[in-house]
């Protein structure tokens, strides 16, 4: 385990590189990415720690820099795993964009380093840089499409 003070020094530049790899932020220029990296906080989580719980209020989104986590959705009394997220994935944005409670629970499966983006930050960013907004719409649309296809496949299997 790491002693405090001996951790790997994480530089702003590294964070910018990470953000660049996030598909959502790909079209953004370096200066804006620097702004995003500079104004967001870096947090580290241990294995099996919860980032956020379904139905909780939320005002932050996360970009995973390192490690992986599972995404669960409550189905009655049980939890169903719906996705696994890892490096360069962007999660938690739905609660910010739609002003709803968290739509899923995210639990880490290893040590995770994440960049935390506040709601105000994200919205400011979207307002100032519509490109990001367009990219995000595309991403969400793709996800929606994937979910629809999975549903269709599930329904087909049941028949």
């Amino acid at each position: 385990m790491m002693e405090c003070g001996e951790s790997i020094v994480s530089l702003l530049k590294q964070d910018v590189e990470v953000l660049r790899r996030v598909p959502l932020f790909a079209p953004i220029d370096t200066a804006r990415l620097k702004l995003l990296a500079f104004t967001s906080q870096r947090l580290s989580f241990e294995a099996d720690q919860v980032l956020f719980e379904q139905n909780e209020a939320g005002d932050t989104a996360y970009v995973l820099i390192d490690g992986s986590a599972d995404v669960f959705v409550k189905a009655g009394p049980r939890e169903v795993k719906v996705a696994t997220v890892g490096r360069y994935d962007f999660i938690g944005e739905i609660a910010i964009l739609c002003d709803v409670p968290r739509t899923a629970t995210v639990r880490t499966t290893s040590r995770v380093e994440a960049l935390v983006i506040q709601k105000d930050q994200l919205l400011e960013l979207l307002r100032n840089f519509p490109d990001i907004a367009i990219a995000m719409i595309r991403e969400l649309a793709l996800r929606l499409n994937q979910t629809n296809q999975k549903l269709a496949a599930l329904a087909q299997r049941q028949n």
Binding site: C4, A31, F38, R42, L43, L51
Partner: protein, 890 residues
Amino acid sequence: MERNLFVYIWRRTRREQIWILIIILLSMPANFALLDLPKSIVNGPIQGRGFENGATQRLFSINLPVPGFLSDSGSLNLFRGLELHRVPALFLLSGTFLALVIINGMFKYYINTYKGRLGERMLQVLRFELFDRILRFPPADLHRVKPAEIATMIKDEVEPLGGFIGDAFVQPFFLGGQIVTSLAFIFIQNVWLGCVTIMLLAVQGLVIPRLRRRQLELSRQRQVSARALAGRIGEVIEDMSSIRSNDTANFQRADIVNRLTHVFSIRFALYQWKFFVKFLNNLLAQLTPFFFYAIGGYFATIGRLDIGQLVAVISAYKELPSPVKELIDWDQQRLDVEVKYHQVIDQFSAEGTLLPAAAPEPQRPLPRLNGDIVFDAVTVSDLSHEKLLDGLSFVMMLTDIVALVNADRGGAEVVTEAIAGLAEIDSGQINIGGRNLNDWPVSVTARRISYAGPEPFFPQSTLLDALVSGLKFAASPPPDPNARAVPKHLQIIEVEGVDLDFNRDWIDYDVAGSNGPGELYERIKAALLIVDLDNDAVSWGLDRQLDPRSDSETLQERLVAARGAFRNRLKEAGLTHLVEPFDPDKYCHQANIFENILFGTTRGNAAKLIEGSQLQKFLAKQRLDADLFRIGREIAATVVEVFSGITADNRLFAQQALMPAEEFAEYDQALKRLGPKTSFEQANRADRLRFVRLALNYIEPRDRLGLLDGELERRLVEARKALREQLGAGETDIVFYDPQTYNPAASIQENILLGRVAFGVASASDRVNGFVRTIVDDLGLRDVALKAGLSFDIGPAGKRLSRVQRQKLSMARALLRRPDLLVANGALSALDALSQGQVVERVLARARGASSDQRFGVVWAMASAQFAENFDRVLVLDHGKLVENAQAAK
């Protein structure tokens, strides 16, 4: 209180006024002699009259005039006097002059200080009497007063009285005397001229007061509007939350502007009128000499008037304007003060009957209440004569546990208020122990019954003071009955039979069921536990320092030991990365550069240290200034680059902690000014300071710019050690971090941690707080923290507490008094259902005698029957009448 100001003053200061009069009379001869002596000196020794040809004069011979049969010459010689030549006489007389000056000065000094002291003392007595009235106002009258208006009346409006009281009787007496003397002299010279003078004086005396009436009216208006202004300002501050949430701030501004303009217009009219009257006054005063010169002179020229007499009259008249003017000024002051006095007195007269005055302490031990509480056809109405309680009758034992619930506009709250003496009963009566509630002395009922209301108010104080505020009935007896804490000349206000020494211990330990502060503390703990405020108290306590006076060295050692235990706990849980401890030999990454150099807690102002030139000199000596300059510049460059194109009030700015938004432009300019090539040596002093300041705030894990390397960290640690050496062991403003010792300038939690919570670890501070709590509990330090928490400042009107906490505090205060009856009126309404249920249960358990305490009864008006399960009986009220009186369903 007497309506006539002079009666009020005379009744209270009779003796002092007569004494001043006597003193002034005694000073007159010296005064007269001082006026007369210069003439004698000039005429006698200086000009030589009476000293011709070396003759001598007899000075200071004292002859007492006596009737003829006692002496031939008609006077008795008491002292032969001194025979002196011219020059010695000169010196002696001059010396006498000096002596007289001193004597007169001393008289004046004594008279002025005496008058001043008298006036001030009476002012404070008046203020106390007004305040006492407020304490005795019946509830109905209390509702119509605004606190800020009362405060300004007592403080400001009666202030002119102080200056007036000393002169109230004395001035007119002497001024009148002077005027009469001059007038008599004029009359003696020439009757006609005397009459003219009197006539003109009379005109002055009649005209001016009439003109003054308008001034009085304006003055009254001014006083009222200034008072209303104070009242309104007080209201605005109380109302702030609804002003802000409704965005009506401009309306408030308009209101105050309107009021201020109104005050100004009145004052303006007042000034104009006042100076007009003054002008007229002076005119009239100078009219008389005009008549003398014109008419008297005419008569002198035609021979009907003796010139010598005219001259004498004119010179006598010269003595008049001064006392007349002063008398008129005195009258002006009198009017002013009287208006203010009447205005204030009127506001303090109550419509109902006043509550009883302060009474001497009752006999100890205080009787306990027992028996039954009987409500006999009790009716209570509100201001619009709606019946809140309508002929309510019921009986309960004092030790019963009763819940009151409203079916529909029942009036359960009014029942509790009536028992607590806060509501006036229109008809019917309440009996306790067979005796009418009104017949019981207040000292028994108020001390044996505890009331907890829905909106408790707490003045600003510590948590401890708030808890014991319900126990401060009387001053404890003085340790030495003859010793007086207050020096005699400062004992200006006394109430008969009541000891009002503020500096003694006023807590009644007996009523709280303890025999001293130690046991009281245990009871406080118990009360806090019942109301679920103990965890809050522990939290507050962890953020406070140990009390250096009462907490011993063993306690400090225990805290240091707790430090080690805390670290071990973290190690066992594998969470050492949550906290980076302060190690004197290592750089702490979670603290900024300045904190790393200083490496201690400051007792004073840390910001001052950063700006101070001392620090700059120190950094220069350590050769760190150039590096910090470089770092600061990089920080500024990054921030400016990252935020370029973003306006300064953008919320994104708040997301970083290095540069405040308002300084952005300043740094932008500084960077442009310096350009990329300028080195530290070339930069000017202001710029150097600017960038170094920026660097001092830098924390690598938080800011992540990669500006600190191992080498710089090592040098910073060296600087730390050098600073410690330089400041030396005698340094009191900074307490250095030392893992082996306790830090008296840091809080309990900071002492246990002696380090910083790590940035960048999720939920680190919550988890650390949890660990600290567990350590505190496990090592038996919870008590210590709770005790420290008692010195938490609850803020003005208890604003630093949430409404829930205030209600809990109010209940704890009520329980601490060990009452015979607890009367609760929606006392825990702000708590959520689960907490409320738990606290109610604990209170009832205590009421039933769960601990070794005596049982007490409970009357609780609650919003719904939800919490009434645990009570013995439930009374349901509907429109002020009792509709159900049943055993509680268990």
